[in-house]
């Protein structure tokens, strides 16, 4: 028996719900190549660990399969249907980015059993999600708003955007650190500002990345700031240096006396024995990933920058640095190629066009 008594977190939460995004955010790190068999194995293991929500979709959400973001090996709707079939008690969530995915995609996902709609916009563009929240609520789905690259908005500005989502029908709004750029109080201040704005009308969530290795610490501070939903991914499998690892979150929250309902031993086994053997490389905070956190670049740009680096012979970290300077947002993967071409022209001393 461990002699250390669990710490009681400040402002202790009655219950924090973990959402596992291995099969959505992790899809970036897998270049969207998950098979149905792999999805079934991961869902089974997470469900047995009592993880309450499991997100399944292309890494860029419904409709993401494309030249710009990478084609899915298996149609995401087949993967969602398999996940629904495999889950005994966990809910299956999908992600949708308005401008890419449509209400038609959402209807399809709902029809095959997805029950949580997570609608994501850039942190200052929440009003593009209004019709999608309306549609999700009409379908009877649970709704979650996702404010991506939240570090780019000041806390009060972010709170205003959360208000738009809640008024549109969001039952929870996430502060999403898509770039893994938030440093401790950055995360907590945003969670607190959103909470102050929406009060008890909706919950607040936090989605952390590891580019500066702070995904778990930021998640703890988010919970202490009032967040009640937290995202993770097994083995940190996700964009950039990966997500806050679900298994580390479960263990850490347990030690802090924060109840998640997750069986720590089982989720450790899910990460070690089920997911790890199927992934080509463990996410790592290498130079490019750290630059993403440091320069505030959308995490899923990493593999795209590496490919453009290989294609045009320019360093990935330089591409990412430029992406950060230009202020490109989630979804602008095509600009990575544009920057690589410009860098190659500069190297060769020729004009771009």
């Amino acid at each position: 028996m461990d002699a250390v008594a669990p710490n009681q977190a400040d402002g202790a939460a009655s219950h924090v719900r973990l959402t596992d995004s291995t099969l959505r955010d992790g899809s970036h790190a897998m270049a969207h190549q998950f098979t149905e068999e792999q999805v079934r194995a991961v869902v089974h293991a997470l469900d047995r660990s009592n993880v309450e929500v499991i997100e399944v979709a292309h890494g860029d959400g419904l409709g993401g399969s494309s030249f710009n973001y990478g084609f899915s090996r298996v149609d995401e709707f087949d993967l969602i249907a398999a996940a629904v079939e495999e889950a005994v008690s966990a809910k299956i969530a999908v992600l949708l980015l308005p401008g890419l995915g449509t209400i038609e995609h959402l209807r399809h996902a709902h029809q095959i059993g997805a029950s949580v709609a997570r609608i994501a916009t850039h942190c200052t563009e929440a009003d593009v999600s209004v019709q999608h929240f309306g549609a999700a609520r009409d379908l009877g789905m649970e709704t979650v708003g996702f404010l991506m690259l939240s570090h780019r908005a000041r806390p009060t500005e972010l709170a205003g955007q959360a208000r738009i989502m809640v008024d549109a029908g969001a039952q929870c709004v996430y502060v999403v650190d898509s770039a893994g750029a938030m440093v401790l109080s950055d995360a907590q201040a945003r969670v607190q500002a959103v909470l102050a704005e929406i009060g008890s009308q909706a919950q607040v969530g936090f989605h952390g990345h590891q580019n500066l290795s702070l995904g778990v610490a930021n998640s703890v501070l988010a919970v202490q700031g009032g967040a009640r939903q937290i995202d993770g991914a097994l083995c940190a499998l996700g964009a950039g240096a990966g997500n806050a690892p679900t298994e580390v979150l479960a263990a850490t929250f347990d030690r802090l006396g924060i109840s998640t309902g997750v069986d720590v031993q089982r989720v450790l086994a899910a990460a070690q024995d089920v997911l790890r053997p199927m992934i080509p490389r463990m996410p790592v905070a290498d130079r490019s990933a750290i630059v993403q956190g440091y320069a505030g670049v959308y995490s899923s740009f990493l593999l795209h920058a590496e490919r453009a680096s290989e294609r045009y012979g320019v360093p990935a970290h330089e591409i990412l640095q430029r992406v950060g300077e230009a202020g490109y947002v989630g979804g602008q993967e095509d600009m990575i190629i544009d920057i690589a071409i410009q860098l190659a022209h500069q190297r060769d001393g020729a004009p771009a066009s």
Binding site: E125, Y328, V329, D338
Partner: protein, 314 residues
């Protein structure tokens, strides 16, 4: 040919006003005579009145009671309003150029398919992303078969009005369909991104077309695609001077990650002309420029028809 056709603009907002400036400044064949709205306190109506137009906040009822009636109406309201107004214009024999996503008439991109639609009573201008990218898809599909075309339109947040924001699915669905119907791709997909960076980013569009494997290799097919794309860019530049390639078309061999497809990538920048709207808003400029272009070509067509009738009558 000094004769002009008479035009009305319905919808005195940003788009309607920019179109008005374009017609006044650049059109030799279209005379904007009426500006119609529904709000008497509209800045756009006041501005149009100062520029010498006859204006009213009494909507289409007022417009249809004017003498002469316009030959052509440019609709810059909303899809819903245009759906209601379109039958009334048609009944009055007024040609409609629709800048909303209502799609009552055929999708038209002036450099691709206006010639075959000149007699249609109602012409729809797709979307800003459609006006920017359909020409490129059409250029590629004139050279090779395009089983799949995908476009990414990036626009400055400030240039995305409440209508676009409230109906963003409409943009993706309409644009994707136009890539097929007008662009000639077997299947189309459209993506739109709003970027809030300051200073605002100039509109960018990326076009990816799946092409036959041999067309991605150096050789005659690849040359044909390059020639066709360059020619198309020059044609569009005749009415959108700020339409340009960021780089030469990028060819990539078939890849497993792309379901075995080869592709060509075309990277565009669209700098607006700044007639009324700021020049970063290339997305708004290209649709008003397309409308003005359609107006000019329609005018030429109508005037020619009129002269033919006159000659016959004499």
């Amino acid at each position: 040919m000094n004769e002009k056709i008479v035009a009305a603009i319905v919808g005195p907002g940003n788009i309607g006003t920019d179109l008005l400036f374009k017609l006044i400044r650049h059109s030799k064949a279209v005379e904007p005579r009426y500006m119609v709205g529904v709000d008497p306190s509209s800045d756009g109506l006041a501005r149009a009145a100062r520029l010498g137009l006859r204006t009213s906040a009494d909507g289409v009822d007022w417009l249809l009671a004017q003498h002469p009636r316009p030959d052509v109406v440019f609709e810059a309201t909303s899809a819903r309003a245009h759906a209601a107004n379109a039958p009334r214009y048609a009944a009055a024999g007024i040609r409609a150029v629709d800048l909303t996503p209502a799609a009552v008439g055929p999708y038209v991109c002036p450099v691709v398919n206006l010639d075959v639609n000149l007699d249609a009573p109602n012409l729809n201008l797709i979307t800003c992303g459609g006006q920017s990218t359909v020409p490129i898809v059409a250029a590629v599909s004139r050279a090779v078969e395009v089983p799949y075309a995908e476009i990414v339109a990036s626009i400055a947040s400030r240039s995305a009005g409440p209508g676009t924001r409230a109906n963003i699915d409409e943009f993706t669905e309409v644009t994707a369909r136009a890539l097929e119907v007008v662009g000639g791709a077997k299947r189309g997909k459209a993506i739109i991104i709003l970027n809030p960076v300051e200073p605002p980013m100039i509109m960018r569009n990326t076009v990816f077309c799946a092409i036959p494997a041999e067309a991605a290799e150096p050789g005659p097919l690849r040359d044909a695609i390059e020639t066709s794309v360059h020619a198309m860019v020059e044609t569009v530049r005749q009415y959108v001077p700020g339409y340009s390639l960021r780089a030469e078309p990028q060819f990539d061999a078939p890849h497993e990650r792309w379901r075995g497809m080869a592709r060509v990538g075309v990277f565009l920048e669209i700098r607006g002309r700044g007639d009324y709207l700021p020049n970063y808003a290339g997305n708004l400029d290209i649709i008003t420029a397309a409308a003005a272009r359609v107006g000019d070509l329609l005018a030429e067509h109508l005037i020619t028809q009129r002269e033919a009738v006159t000659a016959w009558t004499l």
